[in-house]
């Protein structure tokens, strides 16, 4: 069956579709959160070196990974919007930014909480931490630029350009642990042979998935309100029953 993708790239159709999709992401997200946290806090064993404090990892790592991943997704959508002038992609990029910034912030915050018992300081100026901070600034830059331009079309395009230029930074964050020798731990999640306990791994992946689902759900909700705001003068919006006149 051929799906007409272009049909769904029109905000008016996507609005309804997104509304129907939200529960399909939100509910599993909630369930997986519960499962992941349960495994993480009750099943997974105490770490030999780090004691109980290591359990922050279950939030820290998914948040960190998503903060980078979402930036790339956002830049990708923004680029699509810029090149093909599709309104919906630009709206998606705008909708993703706050969630990405939130994950970057959570990563920094949980990292800092973890740093105090592990390294004896809330913060060290090591390459990975710093580059994660820069990522947060890139998100802020995107949001601030978008917010300061009133004309939505111009705002989309300008912010898209910024997002694309800024995405150069993401590989730097990811590889920072390799390029500079740092205090922060290198990658332990490898495709073959890991050193982690199975339950730890399960919990981490479950929570990663949960975070991803959450990100999708929130983005869809946000994109719906962006669509409503941008298209508030169109006929189809005024015919919606939730937009009581």
């Amino acid at each position: 069956m051929a799906i007409n993708w272009f049909k769904y790239s029109a905000p008016s159709t996507f609005y309804g579709l997104a509304g129907r999709l939200v529960p399909w992401f939100a509910v599993p997200a909630a369930v997986l959160f519960v499962i992941g946290l349960y495994i993480g806090f009750f099943v997974a064993p105490k770490d030999a070196v780090q004691g109980e404090a290591y359990r922050i990892i279950f939030i820290h790592v998914p948040a960190s990974i998503l903060s980078m991943f979402l930036y790339l997704v956002m830049a990708g959508y923004a680029a699509l919007g810029l090149i093909f002038n599709t309104r919906l992609s630009s709206m998606m990029a705008t909708a993703l930014a706050p969630t990405g910034a939130l994950f970057a912030f959570i990563s920094l915050w949980t990292g800092a909480l973890w740093g105090k018992p592990m390294w004896g300081a809330w913060w060290v100026w090591d390459a990975r931490l710093t580059s994660e901070l820069i990522l947060l600034f890139l998100y802020f830059g995107f949001i601030a630029l978008h917010a300061s331009i009133d004309d939505p079309r111009r705002a989309d395009r300008a912010a898209a350009l910024l997002a694309i230029v800024g995405s150069v930074n993401v590989p730097i964050i990811y590889f920072s642990v390799k390029w500079w020798n740092t205090l922060h731990q290198g990658s332990t999640i490898k495709f073959s042979g890991t050193s982690m306990h199975v339950a730890m791994q399960q919990s981490m992946f479950t929570l990663l998935l949960a975070c991803w689902l959450y990100a999708v759900a929130v983005t869809l909700v946000r994109v719906r309100s962006i669509i409503l705001e941008r298209e508030r003068n169109t006929l189809w919006v005024s015919e919606l029953k939730e937009v009581g006149l």
Binding site: A121, W125, T130
Partner: protein, 227 residues
Amino acid sequence: MNQLSVVHLLVLVVRRDLLLAMRRRADVLTILVFFILVVSLFPLGVGPEMGMLRKMAPGVLWVAALLASMLSLGRLFSADYLDGTLEQMMLTPQSLSVLVLGKMIAHWLVSGLPLVLMAPVLGLQFDMPAQGLLVLMIGLLIGTPILSMLGAIGAALTLGLRGGGVLLSLLVLPLCIPVLIFGTGAVEAVASGLSAVSNLSLIAALLMLCLVFTPWVAAQALRISME
């Protein structure tokens, strides 16, 4: 005569400027983020040794606060100058000094206060001790209004000049050096187990002095610039 009472006028001007700031909310945020950025740049440039960073921290935070409020000062009068509203303000039957004081207060609320609130978080990144943080915050709380007020004089003098922003910093930064020295001095004092009171009260004295004189001086500077 349509002259307003001082309080009424102050409220009017502060409300106007806050309203404008609300309309460009992004600005307020960006001053804050600029502050954070400048502070974060230093460790990148200087290297991650904690001992050294801890020592630098108050200096870096104060300098960053100075630069951040300097940057935002550029627009204190110039926006109003360019669109002619400043001209109109000078034609109102109100006291120009009070008007200027109102603009100073609004500027501080928008660009100084957020820095004060943010500073402790940044201080933590440099591993500053709790007492140091407290003194830093108090210092900034009474020090940043001085920056806004001195800055207003500079902003008034450089009004309408090309390259005003940089010229402004040039005029104002040297004047702000005492604040910087007392402010960092206070933090260093507690760090070495002494009392910070003398340094802080010096800043407070400066604040009083500024409160009395700067609105009038800035008003005169404005008159000169508008001529």
